[in-house]
């Protein structure tokens, strides 16, 4: 299967380990990601003000790029990109008047109608590849892992764009089960990490990271798996700041779920880019 893919900015910079591990793991599952030839910023946060159309243009332009390349759907990895693209697309479809206004404003673009399907990689794994097929491709037994799966916000909320039950998601748990990996109960799995507050209100994020990592450990986890590059930064990199504040704090590796999936599917360690993670998970995963 080939599918058009929208990477977004962060996967090309601080989250290369997410992109590279996802591409490598999907290759094992016979899914080829075809990156859009042209793409721009997704807008990062979806504009919520009712009169604000200008900030909805960036995600819509990316959907127009998909159409230009003859596609009818696009895959995202980053949760923020997923959320903005998906919401802007729904908005365009539902508010005809606003859509028309936006089309008029983008007079050098082909008219858009809101007909691109925005997919997240986890939906593709569940609905098209299938957990049974994933299970059959497992190469490495990773029974030593006890993963705390972390969803964050933007894959689950608001409800209209949720890839799973917003209050009780099970998608990551089911994915790990299909890989023969134990997922621990992690009640903070769909709570906010503090998001962009990490820029100017570091302490807010530090407190959340402290609470979350401790909860994961208390529930028996030895690793946290995230699906969003911002959650990843807050939960992993901010552990340094947590340590400065709380002397009793013990660090825990935080990786992308695609890195663990790749390891289970037998992707070479080098391709999964654990070298870009702050706390090395390789020892835990490869036993060295």
């Amino acid at each position: 299967m080939r599918i058009l893919y929208y990477p977004g900015c962060t996967l090309k910079t601080t989250a290369k380990n997410f992109e590279e591990s996802a591409i490598a793991a999907l290759r094992v599952l016979d899914v080829e990601l075809v990156e859009l030839k042209r793409w721009n910023c997704c807008g990062t946060v979806y504009s919520l003000a009712s009169d604000d159309l200008i900030h909805k243009l960036a995600p819509v332009r990316n959907l127009i790029r998909v159409k230009e390349e003859g596609g009818s759907r696009v895959l995202t990895l980053c949760s923020m990109c997923y959320n903005t693209l998906k919401r802007a697309n729904s908005f365009f479809r539902e508010d005809k008047e606003a859509g028309e206004k936006m089309n008029q404003f983008m007079d050098r673009e082909e008219n858009y109608t809101g007909d691109v399907e925005v997919l997240h990689i986890l939906e593709l794994l569940r609905d098209e590849v299938g957990f049974a097929a994933i299970s059959q491709k497992v190469q490495a037994a990773l029974g030593q892992l006890r993963v705390a799966p972390y969803y964050g916000c933007l894959l689950l909320r608001p409800r209209e764009i949720a890839i799973d039950d917003p209050e009780n998601p099970t998608l990551l748990e089911r994915l790990f089960a299909s890989l023969g990996i134990e997922a621990v109960d992690f009640p903070y799995r769909n709570e906010c990490c503090g998001a962009y507050q990490t820029v100017d209100q570091v302490d807010l994020v530090v407190e959340r990271t402290y609470k979350m990592v401790n909860m994961a450990r208390n529930n028996g986890a030895n690793l946290i798996a995230t699906s969003c590059p911002l959650c990843q930064f807050n939960l992993e990199t901010r552990q340094e700041d947590v340590q400065d504040k709380y002397a009793d704090f013990v660090q825990m590796p935080v990786v992308y779920f695609t890195q663990i999936m790749g390891a289970a599917l037998g992707v070479r360690e080098k391709e999964l880019r654990f070298d870009l993670n702050r706390y090395q998970a390789s020892e835990l995963i490869y036993g060295r």
């Binding site: 962060t10 946060v45 919520l48 962009y196 820029v199 930064f233």
Partner: protein, 125 residues
């Protein structure tokens, strides 16, 4: 004051009078411990015509639009949009909440773009 209430209703496209103050939004908010007034109090202040207190609260800047309250509200109010409306009213006076020059170059270098763009989108005019 009436006008401010009307402006929030328009910008958020929410019916503020639908709120019956059950407090479920505040009960589930993961950042409530950093707020000066509770999310349900923000709505109450708007309802009783004390919109300026809502507008000048820290709360509207602590909210990071995680939409936990929005999916839980039994009255179907999208609180995240109310917070955004209040932030927008402030930002549209051309006053920045976030001072970009105060972010150290060391932090700038390590923060992911989605953190920076998200922060500036939410906190600068």
């Amino acid at each position: 004051m009436e006008n401010l209430m009307k402006r929030v209703s328009e910008l958020s496209a929410q019916n503020l009078y639908a709120c019956y103050q059950c407090g479920k939004c505040s009960g589930g908010c993961p950042s409530v411990w950093q707020m000066d007034i509770l999310p349900n109090e923000v709505i109450r202040l708007l309802q009783i015509g004390q919109s300026n207190d809502a507008l000048n609260s820290e709360t509207i800047w602590i909210c990071a639009s995680c939409f936990t309250c929005s999916v839980r509200c039994p009255r179907g109010i999208d609180l995240a949009r109310i917070m955004e409306a209040l932030r927008q009213i402030q930002l549209r006076k051309n006053i920045d909440r976030v001072e970009i020059k105060r972010i150290s170059s060391e932090q700038m270098a390590k923060l992911p773009q989605i953190a920076l763009v998200g922060n500036f989108r939410k906190g600068t005019a």
